[in-house]
Every structure is written in C-alpha cells, then in structure tokens.
C-alpha cells in the first residue's frame, strides 16, 4: 500500500459498472441456448404428438401452445435478464481490494482483500471476443469463495484490473 489508505480510497473507490457490451453478448448466448433447448424439446413434443393416439385435437393444440409459450418465455428471459444483471452488478477497486456486488433478487457482495489474491486469470471465449469482453477470475486460499469470477468486463479493463491487483509488496510475503 502506498500513501494513506483513506485518501487513496476516496480517490479510487468509485463503484464501476460492467461493460455495456455484456448485455448484447449475454443476449446472444442466452438466445442461442434457448434455441438449443427449443430444438431439443421440439423433438420431444413431436414424438409425443406422434405417439399419443388418444390425444384429441384440442389436446394437441394445447400441447403445441404450451411449448410455444414456454419457448417464447425463454426467449423473453434471454432478452430481458442480461440487462437486469448489468444493472445490478458493480465492482469497486480500492486500496484494500476488490469488491463485487451482484444479484438481481438475491444480492451478494464479495470483498477480496488485495493481499489474499493467490493468482488471477483473464480469459476470453469466442463470443466474448466478438464483443471485446473478458472474464477476470481471482483465486484465494479460501474454501467457499476460493474462486471469484467477474464476467462482462471490457477485455482491456480486465487486464488493467488484474495488473492493479498485483501484489504491491511482494517482498513481504512468505
């Protein structure tokens, strides 16, 4: 730590939002997943329609309607959920460490002190690359929260955060 932690905190401790690119990226991933679910369940529904002889016309129509409703619901969820996730996620890097707040209904704030970071990963999948996003993963020696991941950062931000989390005083550790 350099300087007075209080002033440094005041200078840095602004809660940051994720990269807005997270929303279209997660929407794409969500829609593709929903499509995959639709395709798979369509097979099931088709088999059910072919096999169930005693199902009347209304029953068949109902089955198809339920399937359509569920699949539309999934697409709607895939569209709407990422925006809510984006709105409810904040991270703060201050003199003490990294604080991540998230959760739409069940909220959670995890604070990882700087000196407890064992090692870090910055990773980027194919879809993330298209949107210039990356994921920062911070590892601690803990048990329940040994791996704290922050998804949806701009790739350069993820790199900068990782560099900022590097040990300040490597000479002091064992």
């Amino acid at each position: 730590m350099t300087g007075d932690p209080q002033t440094e905190e005041a200078a840095q401790a602004q809660p940051q939002t994720l990269d807005p690119g997270l929303v279209p990226q997660q929407r794409l991933v969500g829609r593709l997943s929903a499509l995959a679910v639709s395709a798979l369940s369509l097979i099931g529904v088709t088999i059910a329609l072919l096999v169930a002889d005693d199902l009347g016309g209304a029953g068949r129509a109902g089955l198809v309607a339920i399937w359509l409703a569920v699949m539309t619901g999934l697409q709607w969820l895939a569209h709407m959920w990422p925006a809510r996730v984006f709105a409810h996620t904040r991270y703060t890097l201050d003199a003490d460490g990294l604080q991540i707040s998230r959760g739409v209904y069940w909220r959670e704030t995890t604070y990882v002190p700087r000196s407890r970071v064992q090692h870090t990963d910055v990773s980027q999948g194919p879809v993330e690359r298209r949107y210039g996003l990356g994921t920062l993963v911070v590892y601690t020696a803990g048990t329940a929260h040994a791996r704290v991941a922050l998804q949806g950062l701009a790739y350069d931000t993820a790199l900068a955060l990782r560099d900022a989390l590097r040990l300040d005083r490597p000479d002091d550790t064992v």
């Binding site: 003490d96 064992q118 803990g142």
Partner: protein, 531 residues
C-alpha cells in the same frame, strides 16, 4: 505502471517441450486403452462367429478408436502450440487456449510448491512434468506444465525462489512483520503440556459424545455379513413382537378411539432406556481405547497431539497454520462445565489437499478453554463482548416454520378431523420456543484481532477467526433480508470443512453488516496471509 516490470527484466518466453504432444497422446491412449482392449477382444470373438464377414468388427472398432482419439490428438497439438510460459520480474504468466483464451498470473511469492515428476520416459527424453501449486482453494495444481525441458525446470526454480531467502531474512529483521503475535523462533523447544485427559475424562467424553451407535452399527453389519442376524433376531424378539401394535394403540388414544396402553408403553420405555444406556457404555469404552492418554503439548511453535491405546497417533499442528478454532458445548457439556475445542488447519506443504479438522482438546474444563485458545492463537486478545443479532430477527426466523406448522395442521385437520389439531398445539409451541432459543443465542463479536460467531441453542458452537486468516468477506441479502433491511455476513477462511461451523452471521442490520465487511476487509488487507 502495468508494464513497468517488463522494463526491469526482459521477459523470456517459453513453450512446452515438443514431446508434450507425445505425453498428452499417451495420456489419452491410457484412458482409451482399457475400452480399446475390451473392444479388441470382443472383436476377436466376433470373428469366430460363423456367418459374420471377416474384419467387420475389427474395422468398426478401429473406426471408433480414430473417432475418439483424433480430436484428442488435435487438442494436444493446439495446446502445445498455444501454451506459453513467461517470467515476469515477480510473477509467472501462463497463456493457453485458442478459442477460449486464458492468461494466468501466478506471483512467485505465492508459489508453495514446484513439484517435478520424472518417470523413465521423461528421463529418456530429458523432460519433466512440472506442477506449480499456490495452495488456492481448489484441489488441482494451479498450473500443470506437462512437459518442460529439464533445463527449464532449473530456470523456473531459480526464478521463482530467487530472492526468497533475502526476503526471509528481511522479514525476520522486521520485528513489526505480519505475525507480530507469533512467538520468536527460538522460544524454546521444550514440551509445554497444555491438555492431558485422564481415563476419567475419557469415560466422561465417551458419555458425552455418544459414539456408541457407530460401533453398534458396525457390529450389526458384521453380524449381518456373518449370517448370524436371523439367529439373534429369532432368539431375542420372537416372543416380544406383539408390541408391534403399540404405535397404533397410541395413535388410537390420541384420536379418542381407545385406552392408553400403559403396560406395554412402560415395557417399551424401559427397553429403549436400557438400549440407550448400553450404547452410552459402549461409547465410553470406545473413547477410552481411541483417545487413551490424550495429550496436547506445545513444542516451540508447534502443537503436538498424541493419543490412542493400540494405535498411537501423533499429529503436529504448526500454530501459524491454525485457520480457525471452534469451541463446542452440548447441553450435557454445559451441565458439567466442559467444552471441546477443534482447530481448522490449512495444509501448506502439500498444497490444498490436506485439510483436517483436528482435535485440540476433545474435553476440557470451562476454566481452561481460554488458556487452550491462547496457546492456539497466541497474542490475540480473546476477551470480547458478544453482540446479539438484529432485534427483529426472531420475528423473521419464526415465520417460515410457523407457516409450515400451520399448513401441516390444516392438512391434518382436513384428513383426520378437528381433534387432531390438539396434536399441532405442542408442535407450534415447540417451534416458537426453539426458534426463540436459537435466535437468542446467535451472537457475534469483532475486535482488532479476531471475529467470532456463536450459534446453537441446545448444542452450542462458537468459531473464532483471526483477522489475518480471513480470505474474503461475503455479504448476502435475500429478498426477505432486503425487506427487513438485514443481511448475513460470511467470512471465508482456508481449510474449512464442508460441514464445519463457520463464521456466517445471519440477521444483521444491513448497514452494520456493510460496515463490518469494510472493516474486516481493511484489516485483512493490511496483513499478509501466511500458510
């Protein structure tokens, strides 16, 4: 600032040894070897069946083998081509992946272990399989470099451990280092006894912990295996099986359809009591054998635990590796002023794998608890004032079980009639009473040196964590929490078991929880974590 370290030292980039493709494929081949062998054998047998054209089975097996192995070979090649190791001034940078790219930074100072494995094949090719462990929460090594040229390992060792010796000296010179509390290294190597359990204590312990059922279960299993159960069962219960209708009779009484079966109830009660006593007696003998001559000694900076009558166990717990301490007091414990003390340790030498819950004192006088804690957490002021949780905690905690009880009561009333509601009255009363007891005994405290959490009503447990052992701090709010502006606060430490009592304080005032989280994180950030 981000790239300042590059200027200090030219980064040398390194790939894996090309032989790593061969070793990778060999690893996959080993996975496929057994199924392949089976397929081959069945293929051979298939050929002997008349009418099946020659070669079909073998051909299909080979086709399948290629389908399975070719992608893995491709993956091995891609892994080899994309894997890069880079040495920074004070960290190891590992890049991997083509589609899913990953960059891992491992600070040298965090490396616990550089394990090198060299089997004869490795030796023949002059390579080593290197595992870098930092002891983070997972069970896997943080980096597996399969395989490196043997010379590269020497370079890695030199770079990772360079400056470690100077740092070591610097730290010892710096009296105000991280573990200001730690006793000086040369505090003396004489044995200082801390806890010693006499046979009387052990009998008491066996009575309290009641592990007899474990032995009864084991004996039951053994008898079952030996086929002696039928013989025993017949001899014991042949004539008493008419007690079977007992529960039905009691149920009938409560529904107003019959008299209370007093005589049979008495016999059953006596029988059950006798069985329970026998189980307790077995437990006492078991404790005596298992923990015979239990000793906890302090030897220098280590705690040493020794026990056992037949198999003498000796476990050494370095004081600095103590992550948290849990003191447990059941109802019986409290009646006779005793407690039991456990520590959670984190393995340092062998990475994250060795996590043990260990006894510090299975049974100790209440007056001795503070002394035992002082030995396991030297220098930490343990005197503290317990703080209760939120005043409205009870009102919240009682709601879910009450709603469940009312729903159950309503269902019973519908099925069995209104009289059965009488049964749910004591149930509801018990729910309210036990919830009240539970919430009343929730407490926490935080001082400059430690955070502690206490829970449990009949059986109480309190866990103490030194602030320099805090790994991360977690604040959670369910929708119900938010409505009541409460939160729960969890403290993550290394080496906590799945089912161990952890610091996870529910029903805190949200603002207080937030402040406490900040304070904890700040205190933890100022100290370095030591294995």
């Amino acid at each position: 600032m981000p790239f300042a370290w590059i200027a200090r030292m030219t980064p040398s980039e390194q790939r894996l040894h090309p032989a790593s493709i061969v070793f990778d494929i060999a690893r996959y081949a080993r996975i496929f070897a057994w199924p392949a062998l089976l397929a081959w054998m069945s293929g051979n047998r298939g050929r002997q069946v008349p009418g099946v054209p020659d070669g079909i089975d073998v051909a299909s097996f080979e086709t399948w083998l290629w389908v399975l192995i070719l992608p893995s070979v491709g993956l091995s090649v891609v892994r080899f081509l994309t894997f890069r190791i880079q040495y920074g001034a004070d960290e190891l940078v590992i890049r991997s992946g083509l589609l899913f790219r990953n960059v891992r930074h491992v600070p040298f100072a965090r490396v616990q272990n550089l394990d090198a494995v060299q089997n004869p094949f490795h030796r023949a090719l002059g390579v080593v399989d290197v595992r870098v462990e930092t002891g983070s929460g997972g069970s896997e090594p943080e980096a597996r470099l399969n395989v490196l040229p043997a010379a590269a390992l020497d370079e890695m060792r030199a770079r990772v451990f360079a400056g470690r010796i100077e740092r070591h000296h610097a730290q010892h010179a710096d009296a105000a280092g991280d573990d200001a509390a730690g006793p000086p290294a040369m505090a003396g190597v004489e044995r200082v006894p801390v806890v010693h359990l006499s046979p009387k204590d052990l009998l008491l312990l066996g009575l309290l912990e009641n592990k007899g059922m474990v032995l009864v279960g084991a004996a039951y299993g053994l008898l079952w295996e030996a086929g002696m159960m039928d013989w025993l069962w017949g001899g014991l219960f042949d004539r008493t099986l008419d007690a079977r209708g007992l529960f039905r009779a009691i149920g009938a009484f409560f529904l107003g359809r019959g008299p209370l079966p007093v005589g049979r109830l008495a016999i059953a009660t006596v029988g059950i009591a006798a069985a329970l006593l026998l189980v307790r007696a077995i437990s006492m003998v078991w404790a005596l054998v298992r923990l015979w001559d239990f000793r906890l000694d302090r030897i220098g900076d280590d705690l040493r635990v020794t026990y056992g009558l037949f198999a003498r166990v000796t476990a050494t717990i370095p004081v600095r590796r103590v992550q948290s301490i849990t003191v447990q007091r059941s109802w019986l414990h409290r009646q006779i002023d005793r407690a039991s003390v456990r520590v959670e340790t984190a393995g340092g030498q062998s990475g994250a794998a060795t996590r043990d819950r260990e006894w510090l004192a299975p049974l100790v006088n209440e007056s001795e608890v503070a002394r035992v804690l002082g030995v396991a957490m030297p220098g930490t002021p343990l005197a503290c004032e317990w703080r209760p949780v939120h005043p409205r905690a009870f009102r919240r905690a009682v709601k879910p079980p009450l709603i469940a009880a009312l729903l159950l009561g309503a269902a019973m009333a519908m099925v069995l009639g209104w009289r059965s509601l009488l049964l749910s009255v004591p149930f509801v009363a018990w729910t309210v009473w036990s919830t009240r007891g539970h919430v009343r005994h929730l407490a926490w405290t935080m001082s400059d040196g430690l955070i502690a959490y206490r829970s449990g009503w009949f059986s109480r447990a309190e866990t103490l964590v030194r602030l320099n052992r805090v790994q991360s701090v977690n604040l959670r709010q369910s929708p119900f929490d938010r409505r009541a502006s409460m939160a729960s606060l969890g403290v993550d430490t290394a080496g906590g078991g799945e089912f161990s009592h952890r610091v996870a304080i529910p029903y805190l005032d949200a603002e207080l929880a937030r402040q406490t989280q900040r304070r904890l994180a700040h205190a933890a950030a100022r100290t370095e974590f030591q294995w």
